[in-house]
Amino acid sequence: MPQRRTPRTRATALRGGRRALAIGACLLGLVGAPAAARAATDEAPEYASLVRSVSEVESLIRDAHFRTAVGVAESTREWADRIPSRPEVRELRSRLQVLLATAWIALGQDDDARRAMRRAVAVWPLLELDTDSSSPRVVALWRAVRSDQHAAGGSR
């Protein structure tokens, strides 16, 4: 004859399940934390270098050193592409490409600028430019690239 669960036994079972869940989470934390920490420390220097390089390119562009900025941005891109892809890394890589596009626009190299902007949008499709603080030439290129990509996506 099946034994019927009283409300008391149901509460006890619930409590036991929660306890098991908590123990499992703790175990997972104990096992996973060192691995996560190791991964973080491995990637931290690269990420920090990327942050520094992007800010360096930004300051070069601000001071109108466009060719130097292209040189630094291109060399940064080479090694930044090898950093494991995390959202913050992708966002920075996209930012780097926007800066590269800006420098190419300044230098009058429209094809190179378009290529860089395409890469920026491909790396970070959520890329949004602040239309107030960005040069209208950069914003126009970004809009053109985005509409190209939408058109390409729609045609597929």
């Binding site: 270098s49 360096e56 001071d63 109108a64 040189g71 291109e74 060399s75 300044a106 230098l107 603080s133």
Partner: protein, 406 residues
């Protein structure tokens, strides 16, 4: 350090017409002219870059300083070539005391050298006395990834002839990402290449001598041939009525078998080329050095060293050649026209951005780096997106071509 610096400068010179940029402390820079007195100094341009200047910003300025010192109007160091000076595309950056430089600045220097298409070398010298047992490894660790080569020759202890008082000097060499590796093994010629410069007095006199010698030889041959060569050696008339000589010339001044000259009654030319037009072929002077084309004096590397304190180096003005041309009729001296100021490519940026007018002419929104302006003062009016209007006067010359309007 002194000997390793000098040997690295010599090695850099093997890097085919390299310009050597020495990044060093003031003491080293002051001593350089004295150290280089043994014949090397005539062949290089030292662009001094004092150590205390080294920092992120200063390193970013380095290309401009290099371009200014070697006399290009448009400093495009990180391009394929230095504009206007295609034969000067190789620069060696020699850093004698690399361990004393801020690692971040060192990395920036490396990135600039690596990220450009120019053929250049970055030679970092480190002294073991600076507190490291293994300077090459120390430098490599400071640079992080990207050190592609520890130069074993540079890392060797100096030869007895080069030995300095310092214990061990080591070098880390970072080859530039050029499509063709530099031919380091090729010994540099000590003398300047022979180049006949169009329009130069020396070139003209050389060409004149060559022409005169050639003409004299031809005339001599022409006079001697009939007398020296045996009769009938130059066959008289062929089927077409003219004979042919072994020297590739046809001759008409020998009697035919009939005893009559083929062109009796006419005055034949003494010598005539085998093919029409062949005689007017240009005289080709081959030089052993690279073909540099018409070279202006101003294009040649300056001789000697700029004073280390004279930074930034002033650009060398290109002199307008005013050699008189000898003509038969005396002419009145031409009125001296005021030379037109050079045009310089100007880069402008504003934060966040601005619409620019230069000398009353709208030039568009920033960023701009393709504007060609005459040397001198220009009035810039920047209209920012928030409605602010900033007026500024900029002075454009070969050293000042980048402006930030805030």
């Amino acid at each position: 350090m002194r000997d390793s610096l000098l040997s690295e400068i010599r090695r850099a010179l093997e890097f085919d017409r390299a310009h050597v940029v020495v990044v060093a402390d003031a003491e080293t820079l002051a001593a350089l002219p004295r150290w280089l007195a043994d014949g090397v100094r005539d062949e290089i341009v030292i662009v001094p870059f004092p150590l205390h200047d080294i920092g992120e910003d200063a390193v970013a300025e380095l290309p401009e300083r290099v371009a200014a010192a070697i006399g290009t109007a448009e400093p495009t160091f990180p391009g394929d070539t230095l504009a206007g000076a295609p034969h000067r595309t190789r620069v060696a950056l020699v850093v004698p005391d690399a361990l004393a430089i801020d690692p971040e600045a060192l990395r920036t220097l490396h990135r600039i050298a690596e990220g450009t298409g120019m053929r250049q070398r970055l030679i970092l010298l480190a002294d073991a006395a600076e507190g490291s047992d293994d300077p090459a490894r120390e430098l490599a660790s400071r640079l992080g990834e990207g050190v592609s080569k520890i130069d074993p020759e540079g890392a060797r202890p100096p030869r007895p002839s080069e030995r300095s008082e310092d214990p061990v000097d080591e070098a880390v060499e970072l080859p530039a990402p050029s499509p063709q590796p530099p031919r380091l093994a090729k010994p540099r010629r000590r003398s300047r290449p022979i180049a006949v410069r169009r329009g130069s007095r020396r070139g003209r006199s050389r060409a004149g001598i060559a022409w005169l010698t050639g003409a004299a030889l031809l005339a001599g041959c022409a006079l001697l041939v009939p007398d020296v060569l045996p009769q009938g050696f130059l066959r008289p008339a062929d089927a077409d009525g003219v004979g042919s000589g072994s020297a590739g010339f046809r001759t008409w001044n020998h009697p035919t078998r009939s005893g009559q000259p083929p062109h009796a009654g006419r005055v034949p030319p003494l010598l005539r080329p085998m093919r029409p037009g062949a005689g007017s072929a240009p005289l080709v002077l081959r030089t052993r050095g690279p073909l540099v084309g018409p070279v202006d004096e101003a294009d040649l590397p300056p001789v000697g060293l700029p004073h280390p304190g004279a930074l930034p180096a002033a650009p060398r003005a290109r002199p307008v050649r005013t050699e008189p041309v000898a003509t038969g009729t005396p002419t009145a001296p031409a009125p001296t026209a005021k030379p037109e100021p050079r045009r310089i490519t100007v880069s402008l940026n504003a934060q966040p951005w601005a619409d620019l007018e230069i000398d009353g002419r709208p030039v568009g929104a920033t960023p701009i780096a393709t504007l060609r302006l005459r040397e001198g003062e220009h009035r810039v009016v920047a209209t920012f997106p928030d409605g602010r209007v900033v007026e500024r006067t900029i002075e454009v010359d070969s050293l000042r071509s980048r402006f930030r309007i805030d």
